[in-house]
Amino acid sequence: MERMKVVHYLNQFFGQIGGEDKAGMPLQVKEGPVGVGQLIERESGGRLEVVRTIICGDNYAAENLEEVESIVLKWVSELRPDLFLAGPAFAAGRYGIACGTMCKAVQQKLGIPALSAMHASNPGVDAARKEIYILEAGDSTRDMKRVIPKMVSLAQKMIDRAPIGLPQEEGYFPRGIRINVRAEKRGSKRAVEMLLKKLRGEPFETELPLPQFDRVAPAPPIPDLSQAVIAMVTEGGIVPKGNPDRIEAHNASKYCKYFIGDVNDLTGESYQTAHGGYDPVYANEDPDRVLPLDAARLLEKERAFAKLYDYYYVTVGNVTAVASAARYGREIGEILLKDGVQGVILTST
């Protein structure tokens, strides 16, 4: 039987080096299989041979993703294996992102089929599902026995260039690619049947799952506004004239903060908008139309609230950049909370 060469990527824990204490360890290479790699070899009846195992600490990978990627590419291309496997990462987020990143790089840059496995909640799924096959795994090693055979099965198909089934058949996350097919029944009939199931409380499957946005429980309200410190944030791109920090016009890669402790009014001479997604004329004439500082100062003087925070935060918003917006929101929220702010007013366009 011809044996297929596999290179396997693991983190410090599955690489049997250590636990969280070893998460900072840099890349290590071992010739031959380690731990899970042995399970994979056994499951494949010996057909898959893990010739090299690459082990990296989760923190080291997270902090040095590019460097780790280029070394992994080197170590993989040296051997020209038939397949690259990473994980299973289960619910370990840093590990999952590393697995997804390495698989993507190997597949796209070396043309070697790559495959990983992790839990639906792992951020590694969204990072790589479009480009590589990621099998759905449980959230802990209890799922190892179930997921290894699935990995081996899909791996063999990829190596043999056999036709790969639909996501639900093989167990991988839909890659977010949709193709047209012919259904047995026309659309109207499928709609009537779906409605009857819904009316009867029977399970049904939507043909177009929509992205879901989770809900957050409302935070406790400000008990006494007259004692409260309020901060203003804007996604409308209002920046000091000249956009000194170069916030991008679309889907900004960062947010900035600017001091307004001694400013009572935003004027077109000293401020402008950097946002490229709306007609800038009105905002450039009077930036208060996007970040209402003048009115806020007046209300502050009238003691509608105690004090306006000395800085405002700004980015350029865009609905599609949901992941970035979430991160900015979290970071800004944590900073403001630590600084004694009690409520936030955010303007967006």
Binding site: D286, A304, A326, G333
Partner: protein, 86 residues
């Protein structure tokens, strides 16, 4: 972004023109803005009227921050007189 700020524990209100999108994405406290290119302004008004408009929007936003809510709520300036803002 307001959803994530609220998740950290700070009440946060979003002033935006396309309310349905804010609702979809999950903002809890929303105030409808004037229009996309000028959420807190109206070029058709004179400067004095615009500032009053801004103050009203901000008062509505402050009402939003100090209101106890169970679910996503769009705050309207018409409700100001029943709110807690002076």
């Amino acid at each position: 972004m307001v959803k994530e700020i609220e998740r950290v524990g700070l009440p946060a209100v979003q002033i935006c023109a396309i309310v349905p999108i804010a609702l979809t994405v999950g903002a809890n406290r929303i105030v409808r803005a004037v229009a996309i290119p000028h959420p807190t302004g109206d070029p058709k008004l004179d400067k004095g009227e615009e500032i009053e408009l801004r103050k009203k929007l901000l008062r509505t936003a402050l009402m939003g921050l100090s209101s106890k809510i169970q679910e996503q709520t769009v705050f309207k300036s018409e409700d100001l007189h029943t709110g807690t803002v002076r």
